[in-house]
């Protein structure tokens, strides 16, 4: 649960679209989302 609340917003949104809200790498996701 902690991982979800500490994720960056863009990362969280992207992971939810992929159906995997815990798959974040912890890196800034700007490049992926542009």
């Amino acid at each position: 649960m902690q991982e979800i609340t500490s994720m960056s917003a863009l990362q969280l949104a992207e992971n939810q679209k992929q159906g995997d809200i815990r798959a974040g790498s912890g890196q800034s996701p700007a490049g992926d989302c542009l």
């Binding site: 979800i4 609340t5 917003a9 863009l10 969280l12 949104a13 939810q16 700007a30 989302c33 542009l34």
Partner: protein, 465 residues
């Protein structure tokens, strides 16, 4: 999606007794919205929305249909708006989930949340310190991971100063970029809604989601493009940055001066051209700000009379007595002080001497910025003169020349965009921020510079209780 919202609500309920970031938690609304957003994600409707499914905290002076909007005041303690602010409509459309309404200084008048009727919020970096204000609850909520992002409003630094005190990124957009429809007015010619987030890309995406022309706000401006995330792709080689000498004459915490000079060197290393310049016109910005802000507040707050909506005093003899008692009991000390100051500067004998003079100085400040931006792409300065002070040291009945106002208010007077970004920690481990000021509608320049800088620093987070 519901798992995300449940996790967020769990965190909120666990941490709220410590931080007091929220005035109202929107549990039912958030869970209902999560269900709806999940359906929209599954159907592909939100494929182009970069913030779908993200949780957001909203400053409690932004109207939310069906959820009370208090402005942290007794006078609006039980006020439930019958409509959503334009920014709320935009967020809902983008699939962003509202978690709650955040604490603030009463009617956004203050810089610590200590004037809130609901008690002060605590800074997640040190709970003995203020998170800043007036959007202190919005900053505390994001820093304490009680929401992914938040919205604040900025009249004289109320987004940038709390962002700085809590180690976050805050952007005050150009006046007219974000609709003020549904923002409960404090000083209408200075107020703007803007994002507070943990990093620059989140801020850029949130600003993009809430910006745009709104026919419901006559001061709203139309722009060709609001694609702020595009600015994240560019570097700052050759960017011309001006640093005003005047701010170094202010009494500044010594480690802030050192951290700021380190930040200037970082911008130089990134390829920007830095130049110190004279900027004396801003010396009068705090006094000018006080006259204009109080005058506008006096006018805007005249509507709270116990008749139309909000709190009404129990015992009154006649209509005049109802007005007096309702306003006397409903407003806190700082709000009453500013209303009285506003009435004073707007009175027949004082109008020329104070209000009109302040308007003229405001024009001079705007011209000084216009001249500076003929030479520079952005202006760089410290965000505050000190890091977050102890709550116990703040006396709201003794107004001082606020450090955040010194560095921030001229930006509101000129209607310019500015960002506060974290740049280090002081000797006590409290966050220090720097401020990037852009040309009118120059949000992309400040986002480009802020993101280039952000990538040279690691993200620091507080130890959450």
């Amino acid at each position: 999606m519901q798992e995300v919202v449940k996790a967020q609500l769990e965190t909120v309920y666990k941490r709220e007794p410590v931080y007091n970031s929220y005035i109202t938690v929107m549990e039912k609304e958030a869970l209902d919205q999560a269900e709806e957003v999940q359906k929209r994600i599954d159907s592909g409707e939100l494929d182009c929305s970069p913030l779908a499914g993200v949780t957001i905290a909203i400053k409690d002076n932004i109207c939310t249909k069906g959820t009370r909007t208090t402005c942290a005041s007794k006078i609006l303690e039980n006020y439930v708006p019958p409509y959503d602010a334009t920014v709320i409509e935009k967020l809902k459309k983008a699939g962003v989930v509202l978690i709650g309404k955040t604490n603030m200084d009463e009617f956004a008048m203050g810089d610590s949340t200590k004037t809130s009727y609901f008690g002060a919020s605590k800074n997640p970096w040190d709970i003995k310190c203020t998170p800043g204000g007036s959007s202190g609850g919005s900053a505390a909520a994001v820093a304490a991971e009680e929401a992914h992002v938040s919205l604040g409003s900025d009249t004289g630094g109320s987004i940038r100063q709390p962002a700085s005190y809590c180690g976050l990124v805050g952007i005050k957009p150009t006046y007219g970029t974000v609709s003020r429809y549904g923002l409960i007015a404090f000083a209408s010619s200075l107020d703007q809604i803007g994002p507070i987030c943990r990093n620059v890309p989140d801020c850029a995406a949130l600003l993009e989601a809430i910006s745009g022309h709104d026919p419901k706000d006559s001061t709203s401006a139309g722009q060709k493009s609001y694609d702020y995330r595009q600015a994240l792709l560019d570097d700052i080689k050759g960017m011309k940055i001006g640093v005003p000498k005047v701010y170094f004459e202010e009494k500044m915490q010594e480690d802030i001066r050192k951290i700021f000079l380190d930040a200037v060197n970082t911008f130089k290393d990134l390829g920007a051209r830095i130049e110190l310049f004279g900027f004396d016109a801003v010396k009068y910005s705090v006094q000018t700000y006080h006259v204009i802000a109080c005058a506008e507040a006096c006018s805007n707050l005249a509507r709270y009379d116990g008749v139309k909506y909000g709190f009404r005093a129990d015992n009154y003899a006649n209509l005049e007595d109802l007005y007096k008692k309702t306003r006397g009991e409903g407003f806190g000390y700082e709000v009453k002080r500013r209303i009285m100051l506003g009435a004073f500067v707007l009175s027949k004998d004082n109008f020329e001497k104070y209000y009109n003079k302040a308007r003229k100085i405001r024009r001079i400040i705007c011209e000084a910025y216009e001249n500076a931006f003929e030479r520079y792409d952005i202006i760089l300065c410290p965000e505050t003169l000190e890091t977050a002070p102890l709550l116990a040291d703040i006396d709201i009945t003794e107004p001082k020349k606020s450090s955040s106002l010194t560095l921030n208010s001229s930006v509101n007077l000129a209607g310019l965009p500015a960002a506060s970004i974290p740049c280090g920690l002081d000797k006590n481990g409290m966050p220090v921020g720097i401020q990037l000021i852009g040309k009118r509608f120059g949000e992309k320049d400040i986002i480009r510079a802020a993101y280039s800088f952000e990538r040279t620093r690691s993200y620091e987070r507080p130890e959450i209780i």
